[in-house]
Symmetry: C2
DNA sequence: TTGAAAGCGCTAACAT
DNA sequence: ATGTTAGCGCTTTCAA
């Protein structure tokens, strides 16, 4: 059996109270006792029972993260990187991470509710915020701590980290226009995601500032996967007036689009240019490598986690809303359009 | 505040014990009382405090999973899919999943030890087993429940799920030989991973059965990433007698190899054929699409999780060692070699 | 500087 | 069919 605080107490011939205090370095314990207790704990391989400790303290030292999974092939590299970012920072602070999976939908709030009410976590990290985000509304309504990766329109005071993707898309617009593109189409996920709204807005405003209007029928909607990108790109390629550039709202979709263009016998970066967003590692290894906007997902995971831990510890945040500046990564999937 | 069992007891005018028993559907509680208690619980939105419940029961109903992260860009799609598989099954059984991150190395065992001794989890899922696996040795030595994705040489009786990747590689060998390839090279990760050992062994035996010997200097070692595949493939391409086929031990490496071949002005599937392993979704969207071996990662996650839950519940397993049969996915990254 | 005692929210053995 | 009581392992008043 794992030794308990009582075992140490017996060993050193002190009360469990004293042992507890010694272990927590209270200053009303004599240095000798502290030393004695520490040594015994060390020798016995004592590690506090977290259940008991936390039950007593009415806290969990645990961060909740509910993966919004889509179907049985949930293999978005975005999430492993984000998770690693959270996990690393959490362990720096001695926090654990409780991960659940739940497809977006009605059951989702139940999952949050369950974790809140059964006292499993101190706070949540919310990812891929939505325009009408039931998760955030719920947590807000019960005043439960959370930090979001992404903003929510109409809820201007939630704590979040996000990338300024309007700006990111403006960089892309400027860049494509600079290369000579005039006919640009866009492959986007459902507009329920706030990042989609922001990115589309950025693209529109970027193009508009060069006198170009992005028409609604040039924005195609698909899944945030290679498959989604592939299918929508095929539709664009088959149009009579096909675009000279396709702006995909994430790298996975862009990779699908590249594949579709190549399967159609066209050359990426010549016949059709393609851009992505995120700069996942694969983006450097498509052929040709993908022009995209960098988003430091690992670091964002860490930031979000750190903010949340401060919040649950009631340490005032110097900055509870962080908007990161994006940068364009120019690679070879983009080039001047063929006249 | 969240209502406790005591609040319900007061409301219905019964003892705490009765409430507890009613909630657990003990059959020494009158149906009326049960009904009364359930209704009250429902109305008050009662959800049991897991900390307390589990402290009492000396169990956690939680599965531990420690992500072996490598560096700050940990974006292997393999892990999000595996995690989703575990998570889905866990929630079916009312189990939670505690995820930590820790780079492989000395600190790793400390992380396991901490979670074991602080009573955070009932069992572990181990991923990417290693030839000399300190994690498994540790858990075995303290007789703590775990299930591995992958085998461990010399520890023949651990519970595991694995794919028969020797067979998978033999399929690849047969296929490449059938296409006419005679000069085949391999890009592998460090041989500390058992899956690497198995796959290399399968490849060697597959080739040998056709009278071909895979030489040690034709096995190059790199990271399990696109970058690793790219760099090693470049070395192979620059050899005076370059191979006509490159067998990569996972899809990510294969994707890097494809990129290297194309960057060298060669054609994948003609000048050099490439194969992968895993069949991640991206594999269907490389150009040309990747010939690979399918590995149902999501399902494996679910199986491993289910086995572990049975174990911690002391339900006898009908099958504690599962070896899945792989299948070859033929795509266009492979073709007959140019004479 | 230390210890006794209460209690976090729950379950279960033992009464009744 | 229900209640009393003890206790999971820990922290924290309060008293000495």
């Amino acid at each position: 059996m794992t030794p308990s605080i009582r075992d140490i107490a017996e060993r050193v011939g002190k009360s469990i109270t004293t042992v507890s205090r010694a272990l927590h370095d209270y200053d009303d314990v004599s240095p000798e006792t502290k030393e004695l207790v520490r040594k015994a704990a060390e020798e016995m391989g004592y590690i506090a029972n977290r259940q008991a400790q936390l039950l007593r303290q009415k806290t969990t030292d645990t961060i909740g993260f509910i993966l919004p999974t889509f179907g049985p092939r949930f293999s978005d590299p975005f999430f492993s990187e984000f998770l690693a970012g959270i996990g690393n920072k959490a362990s720096d602070y001695g926090y654990d991470m409780l991960v659940s999976t739940c497809p977006p939908g009605d059951k989702e709030i139940k999952t949050y509710q369950y974790e809140v009410q059964s006292n499993r976590v101190d706070g949540f990290i919310i990812v891929r915020t939505r325009v009408d985000d039931a998760r955030i509304k719920y947590l807000n309504s019960i005043d439960f701590p959370f930090v979001a990766f992404g903003r929510v329109p109409g809820m201007e005071d939630i704590p979040f980290v996000d990338e300024n993707s309007e700006l990111g898309m403006q960089l892309i617009a400027d860049y494509l226009i600079g290369l000579g593109h005039r006919h640009i189409a866009c492959i986007a996920p459902s507009m329920e995601y706030t990042f989609a709204v922001h990115r589309i807005a950025g693209l529109k405003s970027g193009l508009r500032s060069h006198g170009i209007q992005l028409k609604e029928n040039e924005i195609l909607t698909g899944d945030l996967t290679e498959k989604g990108g592939y299918e929508r790109a095929m539709e664009l390629i088959r149009q009579k007036e096909r675009p000279t550039a396709i702006v995909a709202l994430n790298d996975l979709m862009a990779m699908g689009a590249i594949s579709a263009i190549q399967d159609s016998g066209l050359t990426v970066g010549k016949d059709i240019s393609v851009t992505g967003f995120d700069n996942i590692p694969s983006a450097a290894y498509t052929h040709p490598p993908l022009t995209t906007v960098s988003q430091p997902i690992f670091q964002i995971g860490g930031m979000v986690c750190e903010m949340l831990i401060q919040m649950v510890k009631h340490i005032p945040l110097e900055n509870r809303q962080i908007l990161l500046k994006p940068s364009l990564i120019e690679r070879l999937s983009t080039g001047a359009p063929i006249k």
